[in-house]
């Protein structure tokens, strides 16, 4: 990764520009804080880092697959973060939004990988009837996001995106476009991942955890007294190559006007979580950041512009925080 200066695009062709992020929820093995989400973790996760009874409640969650539990926890955190004055008394951030206007878009690559491997082994070695009836529906990867939508009565739509590594950026783009086209008013965008199954390789880059954002029109956020965390504009492009900078993802060349931003090239992992982790961290920062990532034959980027005065201090020294420090110390900004 490296820091470099660029410029925001003069406009966007992808995402409603009046959509703001009002809540960020993070559920990662090393932190629940957005500001710390960009730290590069050790592969895997320590045993017992997530207790569904503590994080979600004593009933109804124990037998959900881990990636579903992570997503639900991140969703709750995001909605709590999005709360404005009086929202709690009113029944929550979504209480004033008709269920038919609540949309969900979730990206994942590996939420069901280990589950599939275990089911496959069960069928081969014994019989499909030995599969747990509680887990059997989760062969379908859309149920991870659907469970989030059901928890919050989101009836506008529930999209699951699975593009390798860019599924989170796709979730944001498709969800935001759907809002712009009138399919919803408020959007929950998330990514959740669990470790890859052994047969899929990529164990060293395995990702575990979830991130959820609450997105809504700025006018709505202001009306309920909520402070936007910032704005996100995404762009993807069909092209081969590693995570790139401004021109590779098709945005205008640096220094052609507009606010400056730092570039974070997300290292390739075995899933779609890393770009969203960096996006969440950038929303907790103070300067615009272009988060770029690469999938097979695909480049993606998210320009994250945090709102002034909403930065949360970072407690980590690695990852994106250190990169900013280096870039600032180098006098490029």
């Amino acid at each position: 990764m490296s820091g470099q200066r660029g410029t925001a695009p003069p406009g966007t062709d992808l995402v409603s520009t009046d959509l703001v992020v009002t809540g960020v929820g993070v559920c990662l093995p090393w932190t629940d804080r957005a500001a710390d989400a960009a730290a590069e973790p050790a592969p895997g996760a320590p045993d017992g880092w997530f207790d569904p009874k503590v994080r979600l409640g004593r009933r109804g969650y124990k037998y959900l697959p881990p990636a579903c539990q992570y997503l639900l926890a991140a969703g709750r955190a995001a909605l709590a973060d999005a709360a404005g004055p009086g929202d709690a008394e009113a029944g929550g951030v979504l209480a004033s939004v008709d269920p038919s206007a609540r949309g969900v878009a979730v990206g994942t690559n590996c939420a069901a990988s280990r589950l599939h491997a275990e089911m496959n082994r069960t069928i081969i070695e014994t019989d499909a009837d030995e599969i747990s009836p509680a887990l059997a529906p989760f062969f379908s990867i859309n149920l991870f996001g659907s469970r989030l939508g059901a928890e919050h009565a989101c009836q506008a739509f529930n999209l699951t995106l699975t593009s390798p590594r860019l599924a989170g950026l796709d979730a944001f783009a498709l969800g935001a476009r759907a809002v712009r086209l009138g399919r919803a008013e408020v959007l929950l965008v998330g990514v959740t991942e669990d470790a890859v199954a052994p047969g899929e390789g990529g164990m060293a880059g395995a990702e575990v955890g979830a991130v959820v954002l609450v997105c809504e029109p700025e006018s709505r956020a202001r009306a309920r007294g909520a402070a936007p965390r910032g704005r996100v504009v995404t762009r993807t492009r069909a092209a081969a190559g590693p995570a790139a900078g401004w021109p590779e993802v098709g945005w205008p060349a640096p220094d052609s006007g507009g606010p400056p931003a730092w570039v974070t090239r997300v290292p390739p992992g075995s899933g779609a979580l890393a770009p969203m982790r960096h996006l969440a961290a950038a929303l907790a920062g103070t300067v615009p950041v272009l988060v770029t990532a690469a999938g097979p034959g695909a480049l993606g980027a998210a320009l994250v512009t945090p709102s002034p005065g909403t930065a949360a201090p970072s407690t980590v020294t690695g990852g994106i925080a250190a990169e900013r420090g280096e870039a600032l110390a180098g006098g490029t900004r």
């Binding site: 062709d13 038919s100 690559n109 491997a117 089911m119 496959n120 082994r121 069960t122 069928i123 081969i124 019989d127 499909a128 009837d129 599969i131 059997a136 062969f139 379908s140 990867i141 859309n142 149920l143 659907s146 469970r147 939508g149 059901a150 009565a153 009836q155 739509f157 529930n158 999209l159 699951t160 995106l161 699975t162 593009s163 390798p164 590594r165 796709d170 783009a173 498709l174 476009r177 759907a178 086209l181 890859v196 052994p198 047969g199 899929e200 390789g201 990529g202 164990m203 060293a204 993807t236 492009r237 069909a238 092209a239 390739p268 075995s270 097979p296 034959g297 695909a298 480049l299 993606g300």
Partner: protein, 461 residues
Amino acid sequence: MARTDGAGEALMMDEVMISGVGVVSCLGPDAGAFWTGLGSADGMPARADDPDAHMRLPLMYKVTAPLGPDPRPGGAGGAPDGAPDGGPDGGPDADRARRFAVAAALEALRDAGIDPADAATGPISVVVGTGMGEAGSHERAAGAGTAGAGTAGAGTAGAGTAGEAPGEDGWRPTFTIAAAVAEAIADSGGAGGAHAPVSVSNACAASGFAISAGADLIRAGEADVVVAGGAEAYSRVALGCFNRLGAIDPLRCRPFDADRHGTVFGEGAAMVVLESARHAAARAAAAGPESPHGAPGPAGRYGRLAGAGWSCDAYHLTAPEPGGTQIERGMLGALAEAGIGADDVGVVVPHGTGTELNDVVESEVLRRLFGERAPRVPLYSLKAAIGHTGGAAGALAVAAAALILRHGHVPANVAVGELDPDCPVWLPRVAEGPPSGRYALVNAYAFGGNNVSLVLAGPAR
């Protein structure tokens, strides 16, 4: 800006034309075989060719036609199905879903008269729905005793191409079909999409959402040409879990039959070429190749994708909401976006899976939608002919609807037994046509209560 079609109807420049169709199914390797087979299919599945499928009902409607070659360098050839299983590293059963998808996508582009290498074509975006991606290849690797860390990863054929992540640690992602389609289009000389290829995985509604999302790209002014659709191949895990849930019919897929006991999965892919009205108009004057389906010109030969409605039950992981409130909202949303009423609909390609409650709920909502006209609105019950193709089902239904509107008649439905009295639908047993309305309604539903309805407007006559 606007132009008018032959019927004098104003076409806005951001409207979405359907210019090409490509299909791979158990009925054959292309859209021609699909259309011919719709009216003559016997509707009988076969036993899955999988000795490791330890389950009560390992039934499938399997694609048996020779496949096109695997587009990856070193990929499998076009041997007919039934040859020895090659697993993920090669052989005729490797990466079946992506091969279905690529074959259907390239056929759809040919049908549309679009040459990806033609500079006038511009970028071609790709949106593909699939429930399981290439899970089947991973499963076969395990079944062959080759599972293990990295076994199916680094060093396999095609590593580094669209189907394989470029990472150094050999991660082999499951959902690579959209990337494979984009790569195949690029290999045909395409300039690359305005967007990265998008993989949508809303289970059995995935490709319905994919086609709608592709249309949204055009409506939002972000793309002019989109290849959108879906693909699904045999998955031991998917079929095993449906067995575990008691959702497989022991005989065949027979939606709306009083004796139905579930669904039966099928393999296949369908892709449509969506094109902005502006793009279609720009090339309308150019002579295009004759469609194998007999259309006079390539641009918008199948009419328009006129509307889409999305909804979510947010009710139950697997069962539909019994009142059908959200699927009705989806249908009404699609009609509203198309600017039409229910009386304008001449044919329905329902979701109709054969699962007991799904068929009852959908039938009841169609009865509410069409009112006293309901007994006279023909349905084409596609899954009775090709099985439930999972994430590809919505796209195959759209392909069927597009061909019905193009040809002007509804094929004879595959015979089922006595109709369920709680399913008051009309499944004509002889070809019906032309439809009494110019529009077709397509439904696609999924686990999680994910619902999408699409309205197609037939071509001007």
